[in-house]
């Protein structure tokens, strides 16, 4: 579904992505772990070209990622994205947030888009918040709305860029539950996160990044019980003992 080959990216002098080769099969749930600054968010953001790359090839559903323009917009419509800071449209109600892109981008009739929007809000458990503005919701509710907004486009793959990092601890689970549900239904997902519980529970595959490189690529079980590289051992040592 997603294929990256020999992808390189620099931020000035910083080499953030070093020869990334990655293939995510349809229906697979891939969790990307790594210390901060390891390039995992950047990796996630290159897949729908929110970050352009210096060289290499990225394919989504067999199509090479086009340069800026209408083609790219069309491809982005098929790739759902959930951000760390939610990024719900602040001047639109929750239901408008969910129905807006189907109406404007997919040209779905308004009534139909809102009906489907309500179903999705129902599913993430915030249908009763439909007429509120994002700022009136808790972080967990906002992130669930953001997931519903991405799902409204019926994406082929979902990207999650640290979806729970900005949440209060008691709200993390309500978001992870929605994500676990999606994973069970067979959605193709690439999740950048620090939630080890989610990685163990829902991931088919764990990728460990450090200094812009993919250091390990294995199943959650073998990664958590028997990490091969020193960098992964060091990382796990730091997060699992605190």
């Amino acid at each position: 579904m997603v294929r990256m080959s020999a992808v390189e990216k620099h931020f000035g002098d910083l080499h953030v992505l070093r020869t990334i080769n990655l293939e995510v099969a349809s229906g697979q749930v891939v969790v990307v772990l790594g210390p901060s600054g390891s390039g995992k968010s950047t990796l996630c953001r290159t897949i729908n070209r929110l970050e352009p790359i210096d060289s290499g090839v990225i394919e989504v559903d067999g199509k090479v990622l086009p340069a800026e323009g209408r083609e790219l917009a069309r491809l982005r419509a098929d790739v759902g994205m959930v951000f760390q800071s939610f990024n719900l449209f602040a001047h639109k109600t929750i239901l408008e947030n969910v129905a807006l892109a189907p109406i404007k981008v997919r040209k779905t009739p308004k009534a139909e888009a809102e009906k489907r929007g309500m179903e999705l809000l129902e599913r993430v458990g915030i249908a009763n918040q439909r007429d509120k503005y994002p700022a009136q919701l808790s972080g967990g509710q906002q992130q669930r709305a953001a997931i519903a907004r991405a799902l409204a486009m019926r994406p082929k793959v979902m990207l999650f860029d640290e979806p729970t990092s900005a949440l209060d601890p008691e709200m993390v689970n309500e978001v992870l539950d929605v994500m676990t549900g999606l994973a069970k239904e067979g959605m193709t997902m690439l999740v950048v996160t620090h939630e080890m519980g989610f990685a163990r529970r829902a991931a088919h595959r764990v990728i460990f990044m450090s200094d812009g490189e993919i250091v390990e690529d294995s199943t959650p079980d073998s990664f958590f019980t028997a990490p091969k590289s020193d960098r992964a051992k060091d990382f796990l040592g730091k997060i699992l003992t605190h």
Binding site: A90, V105, Y133
Partner: protein, 215 residues
């Protein structure tokens, strides 16, 4: 009081002229200002440069000069024959749009980058992102300075006297020709402008209150 009562018709016609000029120029400058602001934030370098040049050229030119250009120089170019009123409107629109553009651009800068990113990630193009996501939020943030620009425009309409467009700035000439006390006449004009500004101020208050709930 006599100055006003004797010349009520004169004042009425003059302020009607002011209001007409203002309404056309207000709408025109908001539209053109938004377009130039869009150019200045667009990903196309040529458009950005054009927007930058436009703003810096027009903003640094005295309005009198802009209007004099359209009053006296433009007809010599013999492009399209336009009425005085139309030319006055064009001058005011071109001038005010530069200020509207900069106010809107500062509004655009207040909208978090994440809003545009989310919109692009959903498949919106540049124009859709700007018109449906960024601009509406930018305008909300700049209602007071945008009102300032429009109030300045209202008062700038008086410079259109140079065009023989009859408006409030031209009243005193006729008063003085007819031997009235011009000082008193001018005070009435000032009061007239104060009254004209009231609806703008009320509109600003109303918009500020309505939109403060939403975000």
């Amino acid at each position: 009081m006599n100055v006003l009562l004797d010349n009520l018709d004169l004042y009425g016609r003059a302020f009607l002229g002011t209001i007409e000029l203002f309404l056309v120029a207000a709408v025109g400058s908001l539209v053109l200002g938004a377009i130039v602001a869009a150019m200045r934030v667009s990903p196309v370098p040529i458009l950005r440069t054009f927007g930058m040049l436009y703003v810096n050229l027009i903003r640094n030119t005295p309005l009198t000069l802009v209007l004099f250009f359209f009053a006296f120089a433009y007809p010599r170019l013999e492009i399209v024959d336009l009425s005085f009123f139309t030319r006055a409107c064009i001058g005011l629109i071109l001038y005010t749009a530069a200020f509207v553009c900069e106010v809107l651009r500062s509004g655009i800068n207040t909208v978090p980058v994440g809003q545009a990113e989310a919109s692009r990630a959903l498949g919106f193009g540049f124009n859709q992102t700007l018109t449906t996501i960024v601009m509406p939020q930018a305008v909300r943030a700049v209602v007071p300075p945008l009102t300032n620009v429009q109030i300045a425009l209202l008062k700038n309409t008086t410079i259109a006297s140079g065009f023989s467009v009859f408006q409030a700035g031209g009243i005193y000439q006729e008063l003085s020709e007819n031997g009235y006390n011009v000082l008193v006449g001018l005070l009435w004009i000032a009061l007239g402008f104060l009254i004209l500004v009231v609806p703008l101020t009320l509109l600003q208050r109303n918009l500020d209150r309505r939109w403060s709930v939403a975000t």
